[in-house]
Symmetry: C2
Subunit: 523 residues, 2 copies
Amino acid sequence: MNKAVSLGQALRRAVHLRGDGVAVIDGTKTFTWKAFSDRVARLAGVFSAMGLSHGGRVVLLSLNSHHSLECFFAAIHAGGAITPLNHRLALGELCDQVADCKPDVIVLGEGFSELRGDLLAAAGGAVPLLHAGDGEAPAGMRSLDGLIEGTDPLPDQGRCGDDLAVLMYTSGTTSAAKGVMLSHANFVANTANTYGELGFGPDIVHLHHGPLFHVAAAARVFSVTHAAGTHVLLPRFVAGEVIAEIERTRVTHATFVPTMLRAMLDDPALASADLSSLRVLSYGSAPMPEPLLREIMTALPGAGFLQSYGMTELSPVVTILNARDHLPENWASGRLRSAGKPVLFAELGVVDAQDRPLPPGEAGEIVARGPNVMLGYWNRPDLTAEALRGGWMHTGDIGYFDDAGYLFVIDRLKDMIISGGENVYSLEVENALSAHPAVSQCAVFGRPHEHWGEAVHAVATLKPGMATTTHELIAHCRAILAHYKCPRTLEIRDQPMPLSGANKISKAALKEELRAREAAGGA
Amino acid sequence: MNKAVSLGQALRRAVHLRGDGVAVIDGTKTFTWKAFSDRVARLAGVFSAMGLSHGGRVVLLSLNSHHSLECFFAAIHAGGAITPLNHRLALGELCDQVADCKPDVIVLGEGFSELRGDLLAAAGGAVPLLHAGDGEAPAGMRSLDGLIEGTDPLPDQGRCGDDLAVLMYTSGTTSAAKGVMLSHANFVANTANTYGELGFGPDIVHLHHGPLFHVAAAARVFSVTHAAGTHVLLPRFVAGEVIAEIERTRVTHATFVPTMLRAMLDDPALASADLSSLRVLSYGSAPMPEPLLREIMTALPGAGFLQSYGMTELSPVVTILNARDHLPENWASGRLRSAGKPVLFAELGVVDAQDRPLPPGEAGEIVARGPNVMLGYWNRPDLTAEALRGGWMHTGDIGYFDDAGYLFVIDRLKDMIISGGENVYSLEVENALSAHPAVSQCAVFGRPHEHWGEAVHAVATLKPGMATTTHELIAHCRAILAHYKCPRTLEIRDQPMPLSGANKISKAALKEELRAREAAGGA
């Protein structure tokens, strides 16, 4: 036990280092680390009295608030795990996840109490429902604030190491969501892997505007606490509000996706705001286009930029493209399109379909191992064994390393098309199609083909007021790509693209539409 | 296995990040990370062919050299552990340690081959002896370089996590040396705990002039490799050579004890040397006197200073007094005398004799827990259980935390004197005595006393050409200290102080001398 890491230690250390310093800023409310820690211990007492014990789960459905942070630490403190659900999902999906994880307590933030009947039914009934928000609790629910006030602090129940800390559902685009089991040691590893590169320390002020049900934000809940820094919470991303909050609370660190930076640049408030406190902007999920980087670096001359690559199963970061890599003198290297280099304690590889290691320059499936690899999938030993075969987490992403050790991620494995024995990466074709001025969104996937096995098929939507033809778009691709990579068939779609739970274009839905049309005799 | 940390990963990552970059500089020899890694894998093959297997040990007795670093990683790579011995010990002590750890291979650096017969006998014979140095191997030994050239690389044997990596003897001043078992996870934790504070990264150049048999230097062997930085090796500390090597190889990081910095300041070479590459000087074992800090900060204006506190059993660092704490504006706080604050993943406490936690401001034994705590003492489950009771490593040091979370270490527990029910910290009395201009060295300890339980006794040596009396020295103390803390008896000694294996004043020997004199009727 003495050798185990724990997330409780992070909280105790923050109290030790900055007990009277500000831990949390949520609108007009602020809490010192002592006050926050006290609320966590009392809320743990609440959860415990409601039946949460070792290995139990607290489901949280809420926009970001100080209550969310308290639920994270209190569930863990009481010996359990937190399961933050994606509030963008449809009710049926949420109910599936609640039924799957069998919570001991359900916490609903403001605006979500109307779902309580359905979620309670999904949980099998008899699960306490807590209202995390201001004002009276709705009928059938109890007020989290009220209970905290009336409950004694519970001692930390001592969970650590490989004990489950967070059960986080990933929204698969093709299959039911899987619960990823992440441990105390997993999040400690993520802090260790990112701390130095992020320039973390007790003086940081971190803005959480991204949803805490996403691993990128959840991991920062822990690493900012490890740093004994300050958490600033916004319910969600709204460009103008983010700009105002950075200025108001002197935010030093925040995470974005490139489209959010675009929205901030387009907001008139940016020009007059003092954002000089910003030190490190990190981003993920997508490479940074050079023109956007140039623009944001001009707007925020004091900030460094950092890209990370990872996934929920990896807690999440395994590579970082650091601030130096983003400096103008390095743009010519082409490495802005890379995901960077392996973090401190992660080991990465690229393997072929038989799990044989591939040398630099050759593309294959990206695999990773290290202390950040998940415990496994909740109640799915079959999927766990498959994903972790040979001791490596198989990411399902295709990529390669260059000679200098930078990782380039080129596609999802399941989105790769094999046509006439050649690998076609859907992302590459999509990038080519997107470069056409009329194209708004596009998706490329394989369509069964008698002769070639699969043929490249594309679906595109057009920008408002723009017009083009399937012929012109295919010709556009042929000017950029090798012939075998170009769409053989292409469909211009009037309807919006179907979206998955994570708001990505659902290729599975598009494939199914195509299959149904073909079965009905269309094409 | 996929979730385990390993020291082999550090080496593989360094090759990935900086394969063609310089890994090791040892005089005129340099090795890239690829070349170093290749030598390690071949040397692991040598060790393996000689019988080293899982859990085995390689004893190393050598000044610092590239061979030492290779032995560290090769022993681990081959599935074993490295046991670096303290070459300052007497032959009998070395033989005791060899007999205790039962090595599979013994490696002797240049200058140590004459001990081979005795060490071989201590090991029970039939243990291969390797010569780590240039030129022909002495009779009965084989050349490490020659064997590396003629042996194929061995695959990493995959040790990790809680597997033993380093077996390191601590030189107790009162008892036989104990073998401290440190694991892969222990050194990974130390890297994680110190990496950010040290400003480590692939561009660092770290000078090892302190002996690698000391945990402070051994831990840097791993953390500099984790950083994929450059190791620079000097056989030992010689002020002029250290100054020249920093300039020659553009060293960015090095570790000193305050007396070494004094020696460097007194070296005429310092004034003309360009040491502008130095970024972080760390030190430990003793607080930094303000005048010395002022002088060294003036001489090295670009360098930051960092003090760390720890012990072999803690791999070793648990608190850091960081660069900011060393800035002149913070001198008035008195915290230059503190050991700083807990590192990222370590948890510290101060407890009374019944292991009950004490609040800030109250002195007691310092205890620590976390992933950096040793596996235990080699073949001594009794000592291990005692040291790690309740899940905390009991350091044997006395200290307290101030209100801001800084740790002040005030004495070794065993050096504390209890006189008339009052705790007297020998270090405090020694500091008072040392302030007298005539005193060169001193030691303070308890002497059995019928009425008081113990009475404070002091032994002092004088500076050359200085004279004083016992009466004057006691009066000097009374002007500074509370009466009960002042020596009741004091002895001015003509002979040099007796030293322990670690070159510290041996209070045990002084106590024994006193006891023997009293038994013989003297005083």
